[in-house]
C-alpha cells in the first residue's frame, strides 16, 4: 500500500482540487492469486466510466477496492488485498475506512433497510452537517428527504414499508439514498441487472441524468453492452489466467 502524507486530507474539498477519481491498481488479489493487475481508471467529475467484463473477472472487487469494502467481499474466502492507489479529488483513499472516503455505493439489490420506512431509509443517509460544516436542523434534513422522494417520483410514499415497493421504485430509492449522503464519487455495481428490459430502458437515462447533475465521478460495472453510459469511457476487464499451481 502507498503511504500518503496526512495533509493530503485537507486539500480536495476546500481549495477546488476537483480533479475526479484516479485509481491505479498494481495488484488486487489474495496472497496466491492475483485477480486484477495493472489497471488504471481515470474518471473526471460528471463523467461515467463503464467497467465491463465476464463474471469472475474481478469487476466487483475493483469497486470494493475503491470503496474500501474488500473485507466484506472476501468473506469466507482468502482476504483480498490491494496494492496501488485510489485518489479522489486529490485525497488518497486507500488507507481510509469506508465511511470516511465519501464514496457512494449502489448494488444490484436495492438493499433498503427492511426495518425503516422509505423516508427513514433516505433520512438515514442525509448527513447531520452540510458541506459547509454547519449542522442541519431536522426540518432541513426532512426537506431533503421530501425533495428526493419527489425526484424519484415517489411523493407520498415516504411512510411505506420498502418491501411494498416495486423493483423500479426500490432501485430509485436506493440511488436517491446514495446521493443524499453527498458522496464525492459514486460506484454502481450492476444496478440494472435485476430489472426487466423495459424498466432498465426507463431507469438508465434517469440514473445517468441524476448522477451527472451532481458533477461527481461515477464508475458503473455491468456485463450488458446496453448499460454503457458513455462509449468514450469503457474499460474491458479480462479474466486473469488461473495460476498453474492453483491448489
Amino acid at each position: 500500500m502507498t503511504d500518503t502524507p496526512q495533509d493530503g486530507l485537507h486539500h480536495g474539498m476546500n481549495d477546488g482540487m476537483n480533479d475526479g477519481l484516479h485509481v491505479h491498481i498494481e495488484r488486487l488479489g489474495s496472497a496466491h492469486h492475483a485477480l486484477v493487475s495493472g489497471l488504471r481508471l481515470d474518471v473526471p467529475p460528471g463523467e461515467i466510466l463503464t467497467l465491463m467484463g465476464p463474471s469472475g473477472c474481478g469487476k466487483s472487487s475493483v469497486l470494493a477496492a475503491i470503496a474500501g469494502t474488500l473485507a466484506s467481499v472476501s468473506e469466507g474466502l482468502l482476504p483480498l488485498q490491494l496494492q496501488g492507489s485510489v485518489q479522489l479529488n486529490g485525497r488518497e483513499l486507500s488507507n481510509l475506512p469506508t465511511h470516511q472516503r465519501g464514496v457512494g455505493l449502489v448494488f444490484q439489490d436495492a438493499l433498503l433497510f427492511p426495518h425503516m420506512t422509505v423516508a427513514e431509509n433516505l433520512l438515514f443517509a442525509v448527513p447531520a452537517c452540510g458541506t459547509n460544516g454547519i449542522s442541519r436542523t431536522n426540518a432541513q434534513r426532512q426537506a431533503r428527504v421530501q425533495q428526493a422522494l419527489q425526484e424519484a417520483d415517489l411523493s407520498g410514499m415516504g411512510e411505506r414499508d420498502p418491501s411494498t415497493l416495486s423493483g423500479g421504485q426500490r432501485a430509485r430509492v436506493a440511488l436517491m439514498r446514495a446521493l443524499l449522503a453527498e458522496p464525492q464519487a459514486l460506484l454502481l455495481d450492476e444496478p440494472f441487472s435485476k430489472l426487466d428490459a423495459a424498466l432498465r430502458a426507463q431507469l438508465r437515462p434517469w440514473v445517468f441524468a441524476h448522477v451527472r447533475e451532481r458533477r461527481i465521478p461515477v464508475v458503473l460495472v455491468t456485463h450488458d453492452e446496453q448499460d454503457v453510459a458513455d462509449p468514450q469511457r469503457v474499460v474491458h476487464l479480462r479474466a486473469m489466467e488461473e495460476s498453474t499451481n492453483h491448489v
Partner: protein, 561 residues
C-alpha cells in the same frame, strides 16, 4: 484487524474457554483413581444401569430424530412449517422436569389416564400396583425424553429454515426438483433434507448426550431399580463416603466415554445413510429412495392434518392442563376425575417462599444476559475462521454429561472459593447456558448480508451507527429469543444448582424435582407449573421485544404539488 480488536477477541476466547477447560482438567485429574474404577466395575448395579442408559438414550434419540424428520417434511411440503413452528417457544419453554412431572400426573397408577376409565372400564376403585411410571423398562423416561427433545430439534431446524437466504434458495430448489418430475415428498427427501440434516448434527448429538446423561427427568420418571447410570453417578457423588464419591466421578467418566462413542457411531450412521441416499439418487437404488420417501411422508393428501404434530401439541397441552389442575387440587380420592376440593394452598406456600422464585429469576437473568453479551461481542469481533475453529469447544457443555460438568465446576468453584456463592453459581449456570445462546445467534449472524455493512459505510456512517441502527435492530428478534432460550436453560438447571450451590440455593427446579419424590401432589405441580411459567414469560417478553415493525398498510395519499 487492529491490535485492540485482536486483544478483545483473545480476551473473549479466554473468558469462555478457560472455565470450560479448567472444569474438564479438574474432573480429569480426579478420574485418575484406580480404586474408584475398580469399585465401579465391582458394583453389581453398574452394568444394568449402563444398559438402561443406552436403551433409554438411544431409543429416545432415534424416536425424536424420526419425528423431527417427519414433521419438517410434512410441514415444508404443506407450506405450513412457519405456522406450526410459531407454537414452538411454548413447547421449548416447558422444562424437562415439568414435562416429566406432567407425564407422571397422567400416567401414574393414580393418574388421570386411569381415572378417566375407572371404575367404568377397569373396575379399579383403588390405584393398581402398576409400574406405569418409573417402570423398570424405562418406557416412561423414553416417552418424556422423546416429547421433550422434538421441540428442541425443531427449533434448531427453524433457526436454519427461517434464514431468509436459505429459505428462498430451498423453496426454489424444491420447486425445481418438482419440475424435474419428483413428487413433493421425494423432492424434500432428496434435495432439502440432505442439506438440512447435516446442520442438525450438533443439536442431534446434544440430544443424544442429554438422553444418555439426564438426571432430573430420570429421577422423576425413570426406572429406579436399577436407575440409569447418570442417576447412579449422581447418587454416588452425593454420598458422604469419599470412595463412593470417587466411584461417582469414575461413573461420570464412563458415561462421558459412552456419549463420545455413541456420538461417533451416530455420525457414522448418518453419513452411511446419506451415502446410501446419494447412491439411491443415482438411480441404482431408486426403489429404496421411493420407499424411504414414502416412509418419510405417509400423508399423501396435502390437506390432511398432521397426526404427529397434533399429537405433540395435544400432549403438551395435556401436560400443562394436568399441572394447572394438580396445583390447585386438594383432596382427590382415586377414581374421581376431578378433585373433591380445590385449594390455593400450594400457591400460597410457593408465595411464602418467594425467595426461591427470586433466586431462579436472578440466576436466569444474570446468566442469560452475560452469555448474550459475550456471544454478541464474540460474533461481532472474532473472524469467521476463529468462530468456526472454537465453536466445538464452546458447545462442549451441550454434549458432555452434566454429572461430569458439576464435578469439574464444583472443584473449580472450590479452588476459587466460589462454591455455595451466588457468583459461582451464576457462572456455573452461564457455562451451561452459553452453548444454547450461541447456537441461537449464529444462524442469524451468518444470514447478515455483508454488503449491508459496506453500504452503510458508503453512506458515511461509522461502525457504531451500523450496529445500533441497522444490524442489531434487524437481529432484534434473534437476539431477544437467544436471551429467552438462555433464561429457560438456566431455569431448568438442576445438578449445577444443587452441586455448585452446595445445596444452599433452592430454585423452582430443585424444589420441583425434590417434591416429585414425595406425595405433595399440589405443591409439586405448583412448582412444576412455575418452572414452566417463568420461561414462557421470558419467551413472551422476547416475542414482544422482537416483534417485527408494523408499517402503515397503505400510505395516506398526500396532495402533491
Amino acid at each position: 484487524m487492529s491490535a485492540l480488536a485482536l486483544f478483545a477477541v483473545w480476551l473473549l476466547a479466554l473468558i469462555a474457554a478457560v472455565p470450560i477447560g479448567a472444569a474438564l482438567w479438574a474432573v480429569g485429574a480426579q478420574m485418575l483413581d484406580a480404586a474408584a474404577w475398580q469399585a465401579l466395575w465391582a458394583d453389581p448395579q453398574t452394568w444394568r444401569a449402563w444398559g438402561m442408559t443406552l436403551w433409554t438414550g438411544l431409543a429416545s434419540t432415534a424416536l425424536a430424530w424420526i419425528t423431527v424428520a417427519h414433521v419438517l417434511a410434512s410441514g415444508f411440503i404443506r407450506q405450513q412449517l412457519g405456522r406450526w413452528l410459531s407454537h414452538l417457544p411454548a413447547l421449548l419453554a416447558t422444562p424437562h422436569a415439568a414435562m416429566a412431572i406432567g407425564l407422571v400426573l397422567w400416567l401414574s397408577p393414580s393418574g388421570w389416564a386411569l381415572r378417566l376409565v375407572s371404575p367404568g372400564l377397569t373396575g379399579f376403585s383403588a390405584p393398581p400396583p402398576w409400574f406405569t411410571t418409573q417402570d423398570p423398562w424405562g418406557l416412561g423416561l423414553i416417552l418424556a425424553l422423546w416429547f421433550k427433545e422434538v421441540p428442541f430439534l425443531l427449533w434448531v431446524a427453524a433457526t436454519q429454515m427461517q434464514r431468509e437466504d436459505l429459505r428462498r434458495r430451498w423453496q426454489a430448489e424444491y420447486a425445481l426438483a418438482q419440475t424435474l418430475g419428483r413428487p413433493p415428498a421425494q423432492a424434500f427427501a432428496q434435495i432439502i433434507w440432505p442439506q438440512l440434516a447435516p446442520r442438525l448434527r450438533w443439536p442431534l448429538l446434544a440430544v443424544l448426550a442429554y438422553g444418555l446423561t439426564v438426571v432430573d427427568m430420570a429421577l422423576i420418571i425413570g426406572p429406579a431399580t436399577p436407575p440409569t447410570l447418570a442417576v447412579l453417578a449422581w447418587q454416588w457423588l452425593s454420598d458422604a463416603d469419599l470412595l463412593t464419591q470417587s466411584q461417582g466421578v469414575a461413573a461420570a467418566g464412563w458415561l462421558t466415554g459412552t456419549v463420545l462413542v455413541a456420538g461417533v457411531v451416530t455420525v457414522v450412521a448418518l453419513r452411511a445413510l446419506a451415502a446410501l441416499r446419494k447412491f439411491a439418487s443415482r438411480g441404482l437404488l431408486l426403489q429404496t429412495a421411493e420407499d424411504w420417501a414414502a416412509v418419510f411422508h405417509r400423508g399423501r393428501l396435502p390437506l390432511r392434518p398432521n397426526v404427529v404434530w397434533t399429537l405433540i401439541l395435544s400432549t403438551y397441552a395435556a401436560i400443562w392442563f394436568a399441572l394447572t389442575v394438580g396445583s390447585v387440587s386438594g383432596v382427590w380420592p382415586f377414581p374421581q376425575v376431578w378433585p373433591e376440593l380445590w385449594t390455593l394452598n400450594a400457591w400460597q406456600q410457593v408465595a411464602s417462599s418467594a425467595h426461591t422464585v427470586w433466586t431462579t429469576l436472578g440466576l436466569g437473568v444474570a446468566s442469560a444476559s452475560v452469555c448474550l453479551l459475550w456471544s454478541v461481542a464474540w460474533l461481532e469481533l472474532a473472524p469467521r475462521r476463529w468462530q468456526q475453529a472454537l465453536q466445538p469447544w464452546f458447545l462442549l457443555p451441550l454434549v458432555l454429561p452434566s454429572v461430569l460438568w458439576v464435578v469439574g465446576l464444583y472443584s473449580l468453584a472450590l479452588h476459587t472459593r466460589l462454591e455455595g456463592q451466588w457468583l459461582g453459581l451464576s457462572l456455573a449456570h452461564a457455562v451451561m447456558v452459553l452453548p444454547y445462546v450461541l447456537l441461537a445467534l449464529v444462524p442469524a449472524y451468518q444470514a447478515v448480508d455483508p454488503r449491508q455493512a459496506a453500504l452503510v459505510a458508503s453512506l458515511g456512517h461509522g461502525r457504531w451507527v451500523y450496529l445500533w441502527r441497522v444490524k442489531w435492530p434487524l437481529l432484534q428478534r434473534a437476539i431477544a429469543s437467544a436471551w429467552a432460550v438462555g433464561f429457560a436453560v438456566s431455569v431448568a438447571q438442576y445438578l449445577p444448582t444443587l452441586y455448585v450451590g452446595a445445596g444452599r440455593f433452592a430454585t423452582v427446579t430443585t424444589e420441583a424435582v425434590t417434591l416429585a419424590a414425595g406425595s405433595q401432589r399440589s405443591l409439586m405441580s405448583a412448582y412444576a407449573a412455575l418452572q414452566m411459567l417463568l420461561p414462557i414469560a421470558a419467551f413472551a417478553l422476547a416475542a414482544w421485544l422482537g416483534r417485527p415493525r408494523r408499517f402503515e398498510k397503505i400510505a395516506p395519499m398526500k396532495a402533491t404539488p
